[in-house]
Symmetry: C2
Subunit: 225 residues, 2 copies
DNA sequence: TCCTAAAAGATAGTATTACTATCATAAATA
DNA sequence: TATTTATGATAGTAATACTATCTTTTAGGA
C-alpha cells in the first residue's frame, strides 16, 4: 500500500487550493523547479504558465502573486520538515541524541520524499537556503505574520527550543538558539558554496563539517549553563 | 578642524563616482532613506529621481541598477564598520574584551557618525538588518563576488575571525563563528521586532539581551576548546 | 575671460512585469 | 441532463527597468 502525506496548509496562502487539481499541483511543482533554477527575482507567472502550458491568468487563479507562492512552498517545507523530524526522532528518548539528529537533518541535503508525489524536497531545500529569508525580509512581514503565514517556521522553532530545554532546562535562550541553528544550517551552506572565505568549510565543501560546527556551537552553549 | 572620513569604494560598483558630485551624494543619501522607509522591493530609480528632483536617466548615470546601488551602500557600511570597530577597539589588548566590544557594536543600534556627512549610519544599519542578505542571496552572487563586491564583508569577517583566534588559538571555526555573530546580530534583531516568538527577547525587545545571548553563545564555544 | 568638456536636464521610447477583466468552452457533479 | 466549476483564450493597463538622444548648464583650464 502506498501512503500519501498531506500537509495542512493555511488557506489564506492561496486563492484556490493547488493540491486539489492537476493544474494546481503543476503550478507548485514547476514553480519549485523554476525558482530553484533561476532564482526568485527572475521567476514570473508568465514563464511558469508557459512551462506548464497554461496562461498567466490560470496561475493567478491559484496564487495572488509570486510572493504568496513563495510563502506557500516555504510553509509547506517547514511543515514537512517538522513532520520529518518527528518521524526520524521518534522513540529517541535522549534529548542530546535528538538534538544532534535535528541538527543533522537541518544541515544535510534532503533526499526526495516519495510519500509526497509532486513535490521535490531536495529542490525545496535549495530554495530554503537561497530564498528562505526573503519570505519574511519584507515590509509586509507584519501583515503576513497576522495571517499566520510563518506559523510552520515558528512551530518548528518551538519544537527545537523544547529539545534544547530538555537537554539543558536552565538554558536561557532556547528560541534564539533554535533560530540560530536553523538559519546557520542554511547560511553556512550558502556561504560554503558561494562565498567560501566566509566559512571554515571552503576546502572540503562538506555538509558534514557544518554539522560538526553546529554541534560544537550548540552543545558548548547549553552544557555549561 | 573638521575631519572627514572617506571610505575607498570598489569602482565597479558605480558608473560615475557618487561621492564627487552633489547629485551623486543625493542619490546615495536619499537612496538610503527610501530603501529604509519602503524596503528594497518597493524602491525604484524613478521614485528616487522624483525625491531628489532629477530624472530617472540622471540616476542611471551613477548606478547601473538598484541592485548595484544596494551593493554600494552595503559595501560602504561594512567598510565604515570595520573602520569604526578598529577605532573603538584601538588600544584594547585583551582579545576577550575586544570581542565583547565587537559583539556590542554589531548588535547595538548605530549612532550617526558626523565624520560622514551625507550618510546616515543608523538608517544604513536598519537596511543591513532588513535587506543585507539580499545583497548576496541572488543567482549572480558568483559574478558579483568575482568583482570583489563582498570584500568589505569578508574583510570584517576575517578581522573578527582573528579576534576569535586571539581569544582561543585552537578554535576550529573562526570564520563561521564570525559570520554567525554578524548574521545573528541582525537576524535576532529583525525577529525580535517582527516575529518575536522566534526569539527569547519578545518581552523586553532590548538589543542588550541580544548582546547577552551572543556573548553566551560565543564565549562558551571558544572557551572550552 | 573665453573655451571646452563633463555633467545634468528634458524628453521619448521599448520590452517586460504584474496584474485585472471578459467571454467562451470543457469537465465534473448533482 | 442541467448546472456549477475550472480552464482557455484574448485583451488591456499601469508600472518597472531600462536605453537613447538632444539640449542646456556648470566647472575648470588656457
Amino acid at each position: 500500500m502506498k501512503l500519501q502525506l498531506q500537509i495542512k496548509m493555511n488557506e489564506n496562502l492561496f486563492l484556490r487550493n493547488p493540491e486539489l487539481t492537476e493544474l494546481g499541483r503543476n503550478i507548485v511543482k514547476h514553480g519549485i523547479q523554476l525558482i530553484s533554477q533561476n532564482g526568485f527575482e527572475a521567476f514570473t507567472f508568465k514563464k511558469l504558465a508557459e512551462v506548464i502550458g497554461t496562461t498567466e491568468a490560470g496561475v493567478y487563479r491559484y496564487f495572488e502573486n509570486k510572493h504568496l507562492l513563495l510563502l506557500y512552498i516555504i510553509a509547506w517545507y517547514w511543515g514537512w520538515l517538522e513532520y520529518h523530524i518527528g518521524f526520524q526522532t521518534n522513540n529517541v528518548t535522549d534529548p542530546v541524541v535528538k538534538l544532534k539528529k535535528v541538527i543533522k537533518l537541518l544541515a544535510t541535503a534532503v533526499v526526495d520524499d516519495s510519500t509526497t508525489n509532486y513535490i521535490d524536497e531536495s529542490l525545496l531545500h535549495q530554495i530554503i537556503i537561497s530564498e528562505g529569508s526573503k519570505a519574511y525580509l519584507t515590509k509586509q512581514v507584519g501583515e503576513d505574520n497576522k495571517h499566520q503565514f510563518f506559523k510552520p517556521y515558528k512551530d518548528l522553532c518551538a519544537v527545537i527550543g523544547d529539545v534544547i530545554l530538555a537537554c539543558s532546562p536552565k538554558y536561557k535562550y532556547p528560541r534564539s538558539l533554535a533560530t540560530t541553528i536553523i538559519e546557520m544550517a542554511h547560511f553556512q551552506n550558502f556561504f560554503m558554496n558561494n562565498l567560501p572565505s566566509l566559512t571554515d568549510f571552503g576546502k572540503n565543501k562538506a555538509e558534514s563539517d557544518i554539522v560538526l560546527f553546529l554541534n560544537d556551537l550548540v552543545f558548548s552553549s547549553i552544557k555549561k549553563g
